[in-house]
Amino acid sequence: MRQALEILIVDDDKALLGVLRSVLEAEGHRVEVAPSAYDALPRLEHQRYDLVLVDLKMRRMDGLELLEHERLRQRGTRMVIMTAYPTVDSAVRAMREGAFDYLVKPFKLAELRALVERAAGGEAEESRGGAERAPDTARGDEQEPKGG
């Protein structure tokens, strides 16, 4: 049932790259890491990945730019934006750019697993686009009062 995926992780936090790689490799996936969007570009050029996890905020080229770049070429790749500073704005932009998901750091291992599972199993979900989801997410912009 479980399917081994080709995964690329792009993040300028090397500690996180190491941990994510070891966790995902332990699950049987093939994992490559890139410490910047520029390092990721040639890899994306030459190889097809099932899942790409990209940090939003990186020097020189950020996750969204990479997403924009890649969306035009690789249709089968699922791109996930990770961020340590979630905003409604960046979430909306990520979905508009066709991101597969938006992962808020710090995340639970279970969240990550569920995400990878969905990426593996969701061929049928192919048609699910981000574009029509975006507007109603944008409405939440005003306020999301937090009780706690």
């Binding site: 936090d13 966790v23 340590a84 500073y85 750091k105 710090p106 009780g147």
Partner: protein
């Protein structure tokens, strides 16, 4: 008599006494010259000179009393104001030119004083909003720097927990994960406030905002009683910001009550639209009352609150030109059977009444 003199203009205050003095002096010298014949020329000349000197002194005294003295007093008062004592006022008596000058001077000082107060208030507000903006900026910057390593720590801790068999080691790994989650909650709390200084004011029904705030907070097992005055004017407000302020106040009240209790919410129209949130918690200790609105002040357990909730609430209310008062039995305030009460008073939007039965 005094009133009559006071009501004279300066011109007459000088001319009348001087004329009087001259007439007296003329009469006296005539009397000496004519009424005492046989005296020597020397005596007459001496009397005349004496009379002239007296006249001079008298005129000088009149000018001093009518012009010099009031003007120097006014100058002295002006000096006080100049040195920053805006409470100094010139004493206004009578209706002559100098009194009118004093009056105008007083009015000007009053205006300066009022403007000064306004400026001080604006400055205070600005300083507070800048402080909050700084907190927001800090929170945003820190969030990124904290959440990134936190992601590594929590994933690593969970992964470790799964691979360990020894219960002691597992407990340690679990502790790492739990504490990472706690840090993450604190950061999320700091980020949950809207620190932006923009306020979009529109007239609205304050009760709607209260209801939204109550709906947004997890009321759990707390009872809520509402006492809304039916006819309530609208308030010019930024509904989002005000809702957040109320959320924070309600949240604070629920936290103070602990397990259970009753939150009572009342609105009324008295010299502005008043909203009162009362809880049945322990109230506020006198020592805490002063600091309750300080940024990062909290009586909650470490990790339970950021100490920003009431600071942000108060700031938002001030930005609506509103006031917030805190009452608690422990502060010697009559608040029978209740814990703390937060009363918020907001200026009513002129001429705009909410539809009845809202």
């Amino acid at each position: 008599m005094f009133d009559l003199i006071a009501s004279l203009s300066i011109k007459w205050k000088v001319i009348l006494p001087v004329t009087f003095i001259l007439l007296v002096a003329f009469g006296m010298s005539t009397y000496v010259a004519v009424g005492m014949p046989g005296r020597g020329l020397g005596v007459i000349v001496a009397t005349q000179i004496g009379a002239l000197v007296l006249v001079g002194v008298a005129i000088a005294a009149v000018v001093h009393a009518a012009i010099y003295y009031p003007i120097t007093r006014l100058i002295r008062t002006m000096g006080k104001v100049e040195r920053g004592d805006l409470s100094a006022r010139a004493r206004v008596r009578g209706r002559d030119e100098i009194s009118r000058l004093r009056e105008r001077f007083n009015q000007m000082v009053e205006q300066v004083e009022a403007k000064n107060r306004e400026l001080a208030r604006a400055q205070q507000q600005l300083a507070q909003s800048e402080r909050l903006a700084a907190v927001g900026l800090l929170a945003a910057g820190v969030a990124h720097e904290i959440n990134n390593p936190l992601a590594t720590i929590s994933v690593a801790a969970e992964s470790l927990l799964e691979s360990l068999a020894d219960p002691k080691a597992r407990a340690l790994a679990r502790a790492i994960g739990e504490q990472a989650a706690r840090i993450s909650t604190t950061v999320a709390q700091l980020l949950s406030f809207d620190y932006s200084p923009r306020f979009d004011l529109e007239p609205g029904d304050i009760r709607d905002v209260i209801e939204e705030a109550l709906a947004a907070v997890d009321l759990g097992r707390f009872r809520v009683s509402r006492h809304y005055e039916p006819r309530l004017p609208k308030v010019r407000m930024d509904a989002g910001k005000l809702r957040q302020a109320f959320c924070n106040i309600v949240d604070n009240a629920l936290h103070a009550m602990g397990e259970k209790g009753e939150l009572s919410v009342a609105t009324r129209f008295r010299d502005g639209v008043e909203v009162c949130f009362s809880d049945t918690g322990p109230g506020i200790a006198p020592a805490d009352a002063r600091r309750i609105l300080d940024a990062f002040f909290t009586t909650k357990e470490v990790g339970d609150g950021s100490g920003l909730g009431l600071t942000v609430a108060y700031h938002f209310i001030r930005m609506h030109r509103g006031e917030m008062y805190v009452y608690s039995p422990a502060l010697g305030e009559p608040n029978p059977g209740r814990g703390a009460s937060f009363v918020i008073r907001l200026p009513a939007a002129e001429g705009e009444l909410n539809e009845a039965g809202a």
